[in-house]
Every structure is written in C-alpha cells, then in structure tokens.
C-alpha cells in the first residue's frame, strides 16, 4: 500500500465527508427527551413538508416522525402489499390519487378515520419553527429557491410578503367527520370507501392549467408584449382555447410561425401531445371504472351500441374523443415528442423547444427548479375544456398501526388549514382545503416566476369546477397502456387504427382478472 496514496485518500475523504457532517449537525435538532412514540410515514415526493415535520418535533420532542420516500411503483406494488399481509409496516401512508382506487378496494389495510378522535395534544401549539443560522442571523428557509426569511417571534413567522402566519392548533375530539367540511367534496370522496369508511384524507390536489411561454407567444404573434406585461395576456390566451379543437388550432398557428431552422430542430408548440389525452380524460366523471356501489367498482358497462356489457375503455366516447384529439394534434405536428420527466425535458424547457406545458399545480415548482433561467417568461392560462386534475395525495392510517392515536393527532394537525397553507407557500402544492382558498396568501398570490400570474386564484377556480372521478384498481396500468398506444402513433410506428387495436388487446390482457 502506497503511503502517499493512502494519506491523500484519507485527506480527500475527510474533506468531503466532513463537509457533510457539519451540515448534518446543523440540520439535526438536539434530542434531550426520550422517545416514547415513533410514527413511521411512507410517502413520496414533497408530500410531507419537512419544515412542518421539524415544527412538530419541536412541539413534541418525545415523538419521532420517520419519513420514508419511495418510488410509486415499488411503494404501491410491493411495499404496501407486503406490509399489509404481514401486518407490519408504516403508521401513515400517502397514497397518490391514481392508486386511490386500488387501495379503496383493499380498505381492510386502512383505519376508518371517522372512528378516530384527536386528543388535546395539539390544542395549543406555540413553538417556533426551526431556524437555520446563516451569517450569524437566524433564518427560516421558506421556499425551494431558498429565500431566507428572518424569524421574529415565537408563534408565528413573517413570510416573504411581510404577512404574519399563525401556527395552527387543533381542538381535541376531532374526527374525519368534523374536518370534512374544510375539503373539496369531490376530492374527499376519493378517500371514502363504499361503506362510508374514510380511509384517506386529501392533502394536495393536482389541478391542471396551461403554462405558456410569453416571449415565444409574442414572437409568434399570438399576443403582444404589452398585453403580456399588463396582465391581460393570460385572459386573451385562455379565450383562444375554450375547447380542445381550438387549442390544436392555436398550436397549428404557432407552428406555422416558426422559422425553418426552428422547425428543423424539432421545435414545437407543446412538449408532448399525450398530455392532451390525460387532461381530457380527467375532465370527465367516468374514466375507466363505474361506481357500482362497491369499493372496487366495475370496469364494465353496457355499450349503448351493442347493448352488451363491455369494458368501459373499449367504447367510452370520452376516451375515443381524447384519443382522436391526440392523433389530430400529432398529425398537425404541434408536439415535440419530449417525454415529461425525461432528461431532455428540462433542457427543452430551458431552450424554448416547446412553448406550452400542461401543468398540475405541483409541476410549477418543478419548472422553477429545472429552468430558473426562464424566470418571468412563463404565464398561466386556463385549461381547454375547463379545469382538470392530475395527481394529488390522500393521507391515511394503516389498520395494523400500533400508534393510531398519535398518528391521528399528527395527521389532523398536518391537515389543518394553517398547515396546508404553509405547504402551499413552500412547495406550491395546491391544498384540497377549500376553506383557505379565500385566504389572501392564496387568492392574491402572484408568482413572479410566472409573470406575476395569480396562480392561487387560477388554480382554485379551476379546481372548484371539477366533478369527482371514480378511480379504480387498475387505473395506472390502463393509463400506461393508452399512453404507450399513443406513443406508438406519435413515433410513426403504427397507424392510429392499428395502435388502438393493439392497445385494446393489451388492455384485455391486463384487466383479465377485473370485474
């Protein structure tokens, strides 16, 4: 062993891991109190907001909240199933909306939240938020862009607009029934079993609107720069596409104004025309399953043409229309075939490869992170067809949990309006708590990244218009099959008719056990 190499190696290690350690100790709170309860939470993404977790820890130093994040496929496929069969696992789970149908079919894995009552544990929360020291000042790290806010007082903090934000307490004796009125009715229903048991309460709701590039739209002559600046731009744009047909027309117009060089590079109107399918489908009340008064629902319905019982996905006019619209959009060449969340997507965002993205509320944060150089160049317009939903989460307590009371206390606190408001401020995740939609910080919130669009108002208006969709067990799988079917046509590998047939065959295979 070469001494020099060895020493160099150790020195390097010390430098790198030392840096990690110093920030780690800064991030950890000190524990002097013994842990009496541990609540394990399985979640994904940014659903459980870390600063709220920190605050809860400060208020209840004897309770340990353990957050584990996973990929959706693993979590819902193997992990939660293994946990439920062996009756060991998490206390709280975050179920993404497309899986809500599945878990409603297996409601025995969850606790009926109507039967839980909060204790008085959280009825007087007064602690401060955890602070981060920077340049010998205390800051509370507020948003993903790390705009630090100076902490002033003990039971509230001052946010970026200078407003005072209260720490929320909750009363004792609350059950799911008590807090139900705070939530959007159709979102609430997605977490209710057929027998009325509440197995999940919604946190965020996807909502869906259209993000568009103001500079590129001006370049294409769709709006003027002045209109964009004075805020009327987004209304004008929204009026351009009240229907999906008009949306595609606008796309064609946009593409026709592109330079030849741009066209050659594959520049287009929208990142992926497949998004139109999802958006359209999530606007209609019946997607793939029909509510037949059971938890699982049924995948069959009577086909009005043949009068026979057939799977909904094979004859539903909504699905057919959505499919056809995508094909039309694809033929008009308005898409750039950039898959969302692929490595090419953020690069495309940064370089103006596409001007339009169908965005649920949670995607806004993503755009801010991935394309910070495009700040101020985006705006928000309403979705053709009037509002849609993509994504969202339900929080539930498992039936095999050992800490149900403590879990419910935390959950009820987390879902309280004040806390949900904070989630919105930090991550832009749009809460399902309709009672806060009239709060100034939501209603009047203008996001500078999106050309000062009043995103709070835009999304909340759209969300309130939606009707509930009955999600079934195999929703994500069927979604994927249709997505694949459309991708085949988009890539020029199959005609629409052939791909439709292939998709039907695939779906028959995938749903062969379904009732």
């Amino acid at each position: 062993m070469n001494i020099k190499k060895f020493t160099a190696g150790i020195a390097l290690a010390a430098l790198v891991f030392g840096a990690g350690v110093s920030s780690a100790t800064a991030a950890e709170t000190e524990r002097e109190v013994a842990i009496t309860k541990t609540i394990t939470i399985w979640t994904f993404g940014d659903v459980i907001e870390p600063n709220l977790v920190l605050q809860y820890k400060k208020a209840h130093p004897d309770i340990l909240l353990e957050i584990k994040k996973s990929d959706l496929a693993a979590m819902n496929g193997t992990d939660m199933t293994a946990a439920c069969t062996s009756k060991t696992g998490p206390d709280i789970v975050a179920v993404e909306v497309q899986y809500s149908g599945k878990w409603r079919s297996y409601s025995k894995c969850f606790q009926d939240l109507k039967k839980m009552k909060t204790s008085s544990a959280n009825s007087e929360m007064t602690t401060t938020y955890s602070t981060v020291k920077r340049n010998s000042k205390n800051y509370y790290k507020l948003d993903a862009n790390e705009n630090p806010i100076k902490v002033k007082n003990s039971n509230f903090y001052i946010d970026s607009t200078g407003a005072k934000v209260n720490v929320g307490s909750i009363k004792a004796g609350l059950s799911a029934t008590s807090i139900k009125p705070q939530f959007i009715p159709w979102r609430w229903e997605q977490g209710v079993g057929h027998d009325g048991s509440v197995i999940g309460i919604p946190t965020d709701v996807g909502g869906m609107e259209v993000l568009y590039r103001t500079d590129l739209f001006v370049k294409a002559g769709l709006i003027t720069a002045a209109q964009s600046k004075n805020g009327t731009g987004r209304e004008i744009v929204s009026k351009m596409w009240p229907t999906w047909e008009k949306f595609i027309e606008t796309g064609k117009k946009y593409v026709s104004k592109l330079s030849a060089a741009d066209k050659k590079k594959g520049v287009g109107f929208i990142d992926n025309v497949g998004g139109i399918f999802t958006a359209m489908l999530n606007q209609s009340p019946v997607k793939y399953y029909k509510d037949n008064k059971t938890d699982a629902g049924t995948i069959f319905d009577t086909n009005p043409k043949t009068k026979k019982k057939e799977p909904i996905y094979s004859f539903s006019p909504q699905i057919k229309k959505a499919w056809d619209n995508v094909i039309i959009a694809d033929k008009a060449k308005i898409g750039t075939r950039t898959a969302q969340f692929s490595p090419d997507w953020p690069v495309g965002m940064n370089n103006g490869k596409f001007a339009v993205i169908m965005a649920p509320a949670w995607m806004m944060d993503y755009v801010k992170q991935q394309a910070p150089l495009t700040k101020g160049k985006w705006d928000v317009a309403s979705l053709p067809g009037g509002g849609g939903n993509l994504g969202g989460t339900q929080l539930g307590i498992t039936s095999y949990s050992d800490e149900k009371q403590a879990a419910w206390d935390f959950l009820a606190w987390y879902l309280a309006p004040e806390q949900q408001l904070q989630v919105f401020r930090t991550y832009g995740l749009f809460p399902s708590t309709k009672s806060i939609y009239n709060d100034a910080s939501v209603k009047d919130y203008k996001d500078p990244f999106f050309n000062n669009a009043p995103v709070g108002k835009i999304y909340s208006t759209g969300i309130l218009k939606l009707k509930p969709i009955f999600e079934g067990e195999l929703n994500p799988v069927i979604d994927k099959a249709f997505g694949d079917g459309l991708a085949r046509v988009s890539a020029g590998k199959k005609t629409s008719a052939t791909s439709w047939k292939i998709t039907m065959d695939e779906l028959k295979k995938l749903t062969r056990g379904a009732k």
Binding site: T85, D344, D484, G513
Partner: protein, 334 residues
Amino acid sequence: MSHVVANPSPRPKDKGRSKGAPSPWRQKKKPKEQAEFPGLRSLNGKWGYLFVAPFIIMFLIFGLAPVLYSTFIAFYDYDPLGEQTFIGFDNFAYLMEDSTFWTSIFNTFDIWFWSTFPQMAMSIGLAAILRNRFLKAKTFWRTILLVPNITSVLAVAIVFGQLFGRDFGMVNMVLGWFGIPNIDFIEDPFAAHIAIASMITWRWVGYNALIFLAAMLAIPDELYESASLDGAKSWQQFRYVTLPGLRNTITFVLIVGTIGGLQVFAEPLTLGGSTSGGSEHQFSTLTLFLYDQAFVANQWGYGAAIGIMITIIVLIISGINFLATRALTTGEAK
C-alpha cells in the same frame, strides 16, 4: 504463497506440460474429461456434510423456501390481500399466448447477445494489449478498468439516461459530429437494446479483460516462441496459441455472463422509466416483465409462472452451454 498452475480437469498431476517430449506449439485439445472425483479419497468424506451444512441450511431457508412458495402460487390466481383461487396450468397457458412474453424473451436474448459477444471480443483484445510486457503503467491500466464495476447500477442508469437523451444527450451530440442524425435510444427498440447492452458492457468489460489477462499470462511463453520460430505471424499465434489456451476461461465467462445476462432488470427499468417496458415493450426483459405483471398489474400467480419459465429457460441455455463446451474440448486438434 505459491500457486501451482493446475488445469481444472480432474487429473491433478499436471504442472504445465509434461517434460521431455517435444511440444507442438499448436495446443492439442485436451482429452475428454473423465467424470472423476477431483479430490482426495484419503480424507474423511463425512466431514463434507458438516462443511456444507451451514450453507445448505441457510440456503434452504432464505434462498429456496421463498422461491418455492412463489412457485407454488404460479398455479393460482393469487391476490395476497384478497382471494386465491386454484387454476392449475391456466397461467402457463395464458403465458404461451401472451405476445409480450415472447417479446421479452426476444429482448432478453437480443440484449444478451449484444452485451456478451462484442464485450468478449473487447475484453480479449484489451487483455492481449495488457499482456504485453513492454506496456507502460501496467498497474494503472489494469486498475482503472475495474472502476466501472464498483458503481451502483442505479447511479449508472441515471447518468446513461442523460447521455442517451434523444435531443440533448451527449451520445447523440458526438454522433452528430459524424453527421449521424439523432437516434432515439428510448423509442427505437434496437437502439434501446444497444443502449442497455452498452451499459452492461461498460460495467463488465474491464473485469473480464482481467480474467482473460490472467489466463493469457498462464500460457507458457515457450509456445509463442516455438510458434514464431516456425514463422507464424502474430495473428496466427493469436489464433492457434492464445485462443485455445483461453477456451476454459471463455466458457466460464460465458456461463456467468449468461446467467447474469438473462436476469437483467435494473438497467431497463431505470433507462426505460417504467415497469411496462415502453410503448413497444422494447425494454421488457424477462425479469422486468415478471416484476411488472406480479407487482404492478397485480397478477402474482402470473408473475410466478413467468419466474418458473425464466428458470427453465436459464437451465436450458446453461445446459446447451455446458454440452457445447464439452463437445468443443473433446474434438480433434487441427
């Protein structure tokens, strides 16, 4: 510590070539291996049971039992949280008609082919260079080739995913310098297989190069010298001295590579981005298909049936491998 150069055939007495007789530099193929006992009769064999016991016991509990349980459910329509109905061979019958199954077989073999044979050629080539006594910085080259082997598959998949991006990935950028238009490594099945194969090749080529290097170093120099005295050129030396000497190593690398290659899972999952394997199931390898059907489409019995089929396929291939190499080692020398 001394090693004795021994060949893996059952007769332990060889220490290199037998002395005395003039050795033809062209290697004779070795005589057919007797199915003999390679060890020592004089040692008390009963100890064998004790020595293998820990392995067998633990293996039965943790390795075999879970798999047997899963195999059992292949004959059921199995829902772990719901009902379980016995359906006999239905899962298997369905599987035979499932086009995705056949696609995944094709994919697995295609990827296996492209990740095994080019890689083997590259490893042998690299080994030949590394073998050269005049090579400068030998240890540096040898060590650096092992670096890919120590990375995690997940991390590699993220990086390669970026490098293979259709519009902005670095691979397409470099190809662009040669005037080649952008290749869609995700949507085009063949390109997708090449992408996966290159990830696998990247990981293993250095490791296998070292194995081949070791084997090459064990080929005695006299053979090369006799050959060159006879006027053989370098490529002839390679063909008639080096390659035969590598025969057993090639077999070993092939078998281990095949077993691993037929179970490729993490790379297609991460590069393709979903368990369903892409719009044309181009990323569905057998194990990914198993995972998708069992855990995502919620057909556990069906997944178990796929698992049994995978085992059968691997057994068949390994059997073919074994017989083929057996036949080759008993052929006549040219």
